[in-house]
């Protein structure tokens, strides 16, 4: 693949080598990545369970969105930054790892699911905000899909830890 040399040069940069060769940098960034992911997923689960009508039934969907969205975006930004730092240190190993590619695909699906919910389903939120009984199927499916995508993203992340470096 023509891109191979790009990932190789990225991995070979002084910055990437510093992370890869340091005893403590990679695990420290990993730790921050885990704390960020736990925060993102924790906040998203709260919103998803509300969309499914299972929790926070006495609080408006729009209120739960206000409660969780700032945390979701701040923690997601931290997860992306730390994730990129981990990625550049071993870029070629990640790019040939199928579970890393699954994880990126699942992230894209989670993003598309959220975009559809935000730009289409959310337009009518005023009609179903107050009552759990009238949550539209589209909103429930968005919540269910989000739970499944994020659980699989976490699982792929863990499998990468066991398979990085075994593909050539």
């Amino acid at each position: 693949m023509i891109l191979n040399s790009f990932w190789e040069s990225l991995e070979g940069s002084a910055f990437s080598s510093a992370i890869a060769s340091s005893e403590w940098m990679f695990p420290t960034i990993e730790t921050l990545h885990v704390i960020a992911i736990v925060s993102v997923v924790g906040a998203i689960i709260i919103m998803d369970l509300r969309l499914l009508g299972l929790t926070s039934r006495n609080r408006l969907v729009t209120a739960i969105a206000r409660d969780t969205l700032p945390l979701t975006w701040i923690a997601f930004a931290c997860a992306v930054i730390t994730g990129l730092l981990l990625f550049v240190s071993k870029a070629t190993s990640y790019m040939i790892n199928p579970y890393f590619l699954f994880k990126m695909g699942l992230l894209a699906l989670a993003g598309l699911n959220m975009a559809f919910f935000h730009f289409v389903t959310w337009k009518t939120v005023a009609e179903w905000d107050g009552s759990v009984a009238v949550i539209p199927t589209a909103a429930k499916l968005a919540g269910l899909g989000s739970l499944i995508f994020w659980a699989l993203i976490v699982l792929c992340g863990r499998i990468i830890g066991f398979t990085l470096g075994i593909y050539h």
């Binding site: 992911i37 736990v38 925060s39 924790g42 929790t55 926070s56 409660d67 945390l71 976490v154």
Partner: protein
């Protein structure tokens, strides 16, 4: 950094002289441990469940404690906020301990003959003790939260401490894999 590494190395050496070794080797021979180790996806699946459990626990802790600190959801009463998140904190802890027990069984020697694992367990016990105090202190004042501010300073300190303590526990979990042996 080198001195911390040396100290951890000495602690591992000391653990090797204790009965923790026989105990972890005994677990290694149990059928459930052998089953976990012979299925490639078993350990990552339980690790993912462990991470989802801490996500539920930590997410609920953040939403409750940020409300206590006045940083989120000020339009919701403390009574409602507490009722929504406190049960999920204990439920998350239960799932965390259950999945964590499976993970200990899955790699008993790597986990238990490991000083970082025992430091994590110590941090976990401290965190649970603080959580028990915190829950009863909040519960006692939750219905009069907006009326009377008695004891709020201690509860606010506890709210910050619990967020930090859970991050310490998570850090311990990640570093189990990097203990010098």
């Amino acid at each position: 950094m080198a001195s911390i590494g040396d100290w951890l190395f000495e602690m591992t050496d000391w653990l090797r002289t204790t009965s923790v070794v026989e105990f972890s080797l005994w677990i290694s021979d149990q059928p459930f441990c052998i089953w976990l180790q012979s299925n490639f996806f078993a350990i990552p699946v339980f690790q993912a469940l462990h991470i989802l459990a801490i996500a539920v626990l930590f997410g609920s802790t953040l939403l409750l404690n940020l409300r206590i600190l006045g940083l989120s959801g000020m339009d919701q009463s403390m009574t409602d906020r507490f009722a929504r998140y406190q049960p999920w904190i204990w439920g998350g802890l239960l799932a965390l301990v259950a999945s964590g027990t499976v993970l200990i069984i899955s790699e008993p020697v790597r986990n238990m003959v490991n000083p970082i694992f025992w430091m994590k367990m110590g941090a976990l016990l401290v965190t649970i003790a603080v959580s028990l105090w915190f829950q009863s202190a909040v519960r006692a004042r939750v219905d009069n939260w907006e009326v009377s501010a008695d004891g709020h300073a201690a509860i606010r300190t506890g709210a910050v401490a619990l967020i930090v303590l859970w991050c310490v526990v998570i850090t311990g979990g990640r570093w189990i894999a990097y203990a010098p042996v």
